[in-house]
Amino acid sequence: MAESHIPHPDLPPPANVIGVFGWLHRNLLSSPLNIALTVLALYLLSITILPLLNWAVFDAAWSGETRADCQAHSGACWIFIQAHFDQFMYGFYPEAQRWRVNTAVLLLVLSAAPLFVRAIPNAYKVRLGLGLLVIYPIIAYMLFKGGLFGLSGVDTRRWGGLFLTLVIAGVGMTAALPLGVLLALGRRSQMPAIQTLCVTFIEFWRGVPLITVLFMSSVMLPLFLPEGMNFDKLLRALIGVTLFQAAYMAEVVRGGLQAIPKGQFEAAAALGLGYWKIMALIVLPQALKLVIPGIVNTFIALFKDTSLVLIIGLFDLMNIVHNATTNPEWLGFSTEGYVFAAAVYWLFCFSMSRYSQSLEKRLHTGHKR
């Protein structure tokens, strides 16, 4: 009779390969060269991070009302930001009407919240999402612009600050993605007319800088329009940004479409599904999932590019901060202003990036082939 095999019990690993010490040992102190590099890195960090912290936190002026309160501090003057905070958020939107912006934001957060709850079934989410996509812009526009239901009118020239940045970015993203998808499908179409049209569109918009597009829309377009006819400046910027980013989005999506094996089209077609159903149910869900990093990349670029509208005289976050630094009462605080603007942009872009990563993980169904 065969002897039965008794496996050895697992021994705990040595202390210097696990835990904090193990990590330190492996990554920072594993050889004399690495020890030297670690020390050097610590030194470099100490001469850069410490002064920065001193400036931004320890020596900074945090409370007060006027510029005089900053004089006693050698660090940053965050009072400058506090004093202009409302302006940075809303631009020149009339103070008494700012509740309308807040209401619209609150409405969006509340109505879109179910989309991020995992327990809610997808079929419901799709319906809610599509509904929001159609209804919310109308409600938001009426709230922002006014002139109806007893709301006083607020000209788009008075929109500004982070609010305006979010309007441009929000409209740009929600319009550029579907448009980009259609352009990508069109570019792969078997119909020569549609294909040529899409290729021309994409290559035109990819070939010109956004700044040129914005300039042309504000300076040249009025020359071609008949006397008296005038487009809203913001609307022109929105169209420019959307079409520009849609061209980029189209190429990102096309990359995803090309990665879908031909067998997927064939299997769907063999079941009797038509072109649009194949695209909507089989190909696009897979293709878009593959290019989430590219889509978010485009979104982030779009978000940051909104700051270019300053050259056509719209007061988005960037321009309003710039404007505040030229305020004679608050001269000399441009560093604080731009650091604040950068922090806000970073916060939004980083959130998008993190959300895309979690989305990728969640949508992964274990079928890498």
């Binding site: 067998g263 064939e266 897979q286 079928h367």
Partner: protein
Amino acid sequence: MNASSTVAAPVSVSLSDQVMIHMENVHKWYGAFHVLKNINLTVRKGERIVICGPSGSGKSTTIRCINRLEEYQRGRIVVDGLALTNDVKLIEQIRREVGMVFQHFNLFPHLTVLENCVLAPIWVRKMPRKQAEAFAMQYLERVKIPEQALKYPGQLSGGQQQRVAIARSLCMNPKIMLFDEPTSALDPEMIKEVLDTMVTLAEEGMTMLCVTHEMGFAKTVAHRVIFMDGGEIIEENTPEEFFTNPRSDRTQLFLSQILHN
């Protein structure tokens, strides 16, 4: 080398006269390359046909013409009384009645097994979801994997995936099933489970066209075996005659190569 021993006993034959597929003088070119040369084939209701031949002989292309995954340049194909044209609606109508199983399964990886099965009934046949799911579970039971219904295709073995692909096609309640080398991408031990499923289907009287190298399957299940080479149908025969007494030299050579390896 093949799974002949695993396949069930020959199935009793009861054929009607109703013609399900009629191919007449079909020619196809890829550019200047003549891939299908004068294909003529008539398949009656309930008939089971195996198409074999060396690779590149046009077997797959032939059956892919039937549901118009491939265009052809000359000739005529009538499927279930409908003559194929370029009309997209007509093609979709024909595809609804013609199921197809692919060599590489082609399941939709972003959908669960059950969602794979109910997709077409819901979106093409406009069946209510509940009903489609009940229907799909029946077919998943028939291919013996109901317990995998909520998994994703990537979590299944090749044999299981191919059985799901068969169930997915059956959920459309097709009148004809086309099999394009359904076992060629499978490990030997998984070939049996897929062939068993196909034999069951055959026993139920499904009209089937199979491109396959499983000669055991051809011997026991097929009513007719078609041998293709160089884009032509070289021989069309009963399985008994085909294997014991082939008419053409080319067939003999092919058989000697695949049976004595």
